[in-house]
Symmetry: C2
Subunit: 371 residues, 2 copies
């Protein structure tokens, strides 16, 4: 067995202002996300998982790049890009927004932030939405400015998040509602702080727009977190599957429409919204989707990483594909996402899963989330 | 000293059809490029470099994703995106094309291939140009189809490339001129083969559009390459700097215009082309550029990887930034690219370079390429 390949580093796979702390904490693995480093493992995926569920972690998610959309046509451009009706959104609100192409394909699934009536941020999954937004704005001649601002989100996640954040930002941080944001000060600078984050353990995302304060903020959170057993962390592969958090590029791509991804409740195609993907999604909705992302439990212990789709079979027939999987210590089972053909969505349905080495595993269909 | 961080693998950082051979060959490091794996080291960067200059290598550059632009408005859309005049391009021609935004910023620097009057491929550097092209086409209502086809380039590079390719594709491959392509058959399938590639050692890029033939083709090239001492390889960090090959994301970004990148000869802004970036680039050309990429030689032996820009100074004043660097065994010097302020472009100008640990190195400005 050869050593696993390392990640070469260069300016193109951009560092964040927090990278020195991530490195000092002994990061063991990275991925690259929006042309930027994203840690994936500190102690081990399993140890990181157990800790996240019990304590509190600080995550460098600077790779959640923002697309800033500002100007008289900002709301129009955001609405063109998403099939979610953004008409009722208020300032201070975060909104999960499937970005959908004219053919219904998923372009990204950011969390939008309404900063002002004429100013939005889209906090991105891994694709260059700035080019999409700017291409549309240029082609349509919209009165809007689009750019990638110098903002690097820092997440505090885990059940002790409120207690930690209150130490640094004051007690009022506890009052921030889920998917709302407030501006709270650290070192006399007001940071946008949202109750959000890519785990199901609760927590906040701090939109750090001052590079010069980044390490000071990290260190203040770190110090205040000592009584709470704070550790450095990152989006956890096991926890996110347990929690039903799909990953753009892994579990959904441009080849999938939002209904296949289980995002029906964000598809307001029955309303008179001017969304590029409205007609395509409405058509799928009328006809019924032919595929749907479902949970799978896979028997027989840990599995290798899902780097290619694994065939899911019933009676020897291909009926779907596993897109992500991880062994869950808490559920004592491998949990997975699979894009399943129509007719094979029932909870408990027995399936076979073909692993990369050709071996077959027994499995069964599950609802999402697993926990 | 901790072990260098590994690269986590998942479906999002896509494999290529050649990945099994790359792994079997013992790849030591990867980067991620267009959401796909790209090897960066096999034996060592230095050993790979020495071999590349003497023999022949096979490179999995499947990450050079294509944007296919096809339809009645295809030529118009390509011309909108680049400031290079594509009017005179003929079928079978490759063309290096700076993609430029309305503000003059570089979006990408692909090699375009004219497949037919109404069909182009853009063979990309690392950004999601499909979203840019499709956003423009959607916004302008162009009659054109854009997509990312299943094409994975495979490069044969090094001085023995012609001899090797002739063994597999026949003697006519030798007649392909630089930056031209032909369709030549392997296993009864015609592959687009261009005399091109991301080294200065000569060679070809095979646009592999048949996943089922990919490993068979690799193996045939590998077997035929034994007398030529073929090895697996990848774009080599030292060789590309010596050769003056800029890397998008490393040495140029959206913050740079093509004149700053030394791409004057591809900027036909004095012609009546309908390019989005024409006015912005014409303005810079009229006023004169304030920055320019230059070579730097840095004394004092090997340097660490350039992961952040290194300040270049003259008399204690910041006059530029190093964006990529490598120690060249053949030149017995560190060679680097630096974006230098106006007034500091003269060959031989003595400068100081500030390394990440704060130490200062002596250096001098050089023309590009170094070799």
């Amino acid at each position: 067995m050869m050593a696993p390949a390392t990640l070469s580093q260069s300016r193109r796979t951009r560092r964040t202002p927090f990278s020195p702390r991530v490195e000092a904490a002994g990061v063991k693995s990275y991925t690259v996300y929006n042309h930027m480093l994203l840690a994936t493992v500190f102690e081990s995926v399993e140890a990181d998982y157990t800790h996240l569920k019990q304590h509190v972690q600080i995550w460098d998610v600077g790779c959640e790049r923002q697309v800033s959309i500002q100007g008289p046509d900002a709301a129009r451009l955001v609405q063109l890009m998403t099939v979610r009706d953004i008409g009722g959104m208020i300032e201070g609100q975060c909104f999960y927004a499937p970005l959908v192409d004219t053919d219904g394909g998923m372009i990204n699934d950011p969390v939008g932030l309404k900063l002002a009536d004429d100013h939005y941020w889209l906090s991105l999954a891994d694709s260059d939405v700035l080019l999409w937004a700017r291409g549309l704005a240029t082609g349509l001649g919209l009165d809007v400015a689009t750019h990638e601002p110098d903002v690097w989100p820092l997440a505090i996640q885990g059940p002790k998040s409120d207690d930690l954040m209150a130490q640094v930002f004051g007690e009022s941080v506890r009052d921030i509602r889920f998917f709302r944001f407030e501006r709270l000060s650290f070192n006399n600078h007001p940071f946008v702080i949202a109750r959000s984050g890519w785990s199901k353990q609760g927590g906040f995302e701090i939109y750090v727009d001052r590079e010069d304060l980044a390490l000071e903020l990290w260190d203040a959170l770190w110090e205040a977190g000592q009584p709470f057993e704070i550790r450095p962390g990152c989006p956890n592969h096991i926890e996110r599957i347990e929690g039903g958090l799909l990953s753009y590029g892994n579990d959904m791509t441009r080849a999938h429409n939002p209904l296949e991804c289980g995002l029906d409740r964000y598809c307001h195609v029955d309303r008179p919204i001017e969304a590029l993907g409205r007609d395509a999604v409405a058509k799928v909705m009328a006809e019924g989707t032919r595929r749907l992302v479902r949970g799978l439990k896979i028997d027989g212990g840990p599995v290798p990483p899902t780097t290619d789709e694994w065939s899911v079979q019933v009676n020897g027939k291909h009926v779907g594909g596993v897109t992500s999987s991880a062994y869950s210590p808490d559920l004592a089972s491998t949990v997975a996402f699979a894009m399943m053909d129509k007719g094979f969505w029932d909870v408990g349905l027995a399936v076979k899963v073909v692993l990369p080495d050709g071996t077959m595993r027994d499995g069964s269909v599950s609802d999402l989330p697993f926990i």
